[in-house]
């Protein structure tokens, strides 16, 4: 069966072969890339400007825990893309299962992050404590907000899925949800590297 770029966004206007909703999502993601680029640029300037004020991150952060959490987010990307593949194949039940799994994994990621934040604050590292604290909590906080927004939207998409909103012929909304979710994963790939490993 051939999958078409436009047919799955049934009824949506198309421009240059791209459904306008998909085009709009990519433009939104492009703006989000610039948003996080600004934050990461600030991190580079602040850390590079005062390297003596930056702790050895493995002494302060629980790298194994967050490495596991990174794995959780990657698995959620797999479940999200499998939800999309399921409805492409005309399997709405499989799509619903994978969407629920994605939302659950996203919520689990946030809960682990909350545990990490709580432990850090108990050990004396808070947003207002020092340079590292303010940078760390700002970057992970904004990413966490994006994950939270994604989880809440996923809940809405699951609700729509159970109401039969997505079919093999028309499932553009699932693709749009997937694009946002994978973007959130991509951002974390870079944040995990620069905050926890470098």
């Amino acid at each position: 069966m051939s999958r078409t770029a436009a047919s799955e966004h049934h009824g949506t206007p198309v421009w240059q072969g791209i459904p306008t909703t998909k085009f709009a999502m990519w433009l939104f993601l492009a703006s989000e890339v610039m948003f996080f680029a600004g934050l990461i640029g600030a991190y580079i300037v602040l850390r590079g400007g005062a390297p003596e004020k930056w702790p050895v991150v493995s002494d302060v952060l629980n790298v194994p825990l967050v490495a596991g959490n990174t794995f959780i987010l990657i698995v959620s990307s797999v479940t999200m893309v499998r939800a999309y593949a399921a409805i492409e194949d005309g399997n709405p039940q499989g799509m619903r299962r994978m969407l629920i799994a994605t939302a659950a994994l996203g919520a689990f990621f946030l809960s682990i992050q909350a545990v990490e934040w709580s432990a850090l604050m108990n050990e004396g590292t808070a947003p207002a404590t020092d340079l590292f604290g303010s940078v760390f909590f700002t970057l992970t906080g904004f990413h966490g907000l994006h994950v939270l927004g994604g989880v809440l939207t996923l809940v809405y998409v699951v609700f729509k899925a159970f109401r039969g909103a997505f079919t093999q012929a028309s499932h553009g909304g699932v693709e749009l949800m997937g694009l946002y979710w994978h973007f959130v994963d991509v951002v974390w790939i870079f944040l995990f590297t620069i905050l926890y490993l470098i």
Partner: protein, 95 residues
Amino acid sequence: MTEHVVTRPRPNYMLVFVFLALLTAAEVGVAFTGLPKSMQVPLLIALAIAKATLVGMFYMHLRFEGRVLRFIAVGPLLLAIILSLPPLVDSIGHH
């Protein structure tokens, strides 16, 4: 407006996941080796870029999209690099 029909093959999502998991393990391994920072940092960034590329190409299906969407996806990344490089070079130059 007429629909433009494009045939898109399906990637092996689980194989991509295996690569992502291995790259993540490699990143953690690199971070805890005794390599000097001057080698660790470029290696870690390269591994992160590889993971992001896999997600973008195969999970976001950029591998199979047209030039317009690829430009929208890649363009801001280039701008982000341009935004980040001068402060990075500047901070290296001062230490």
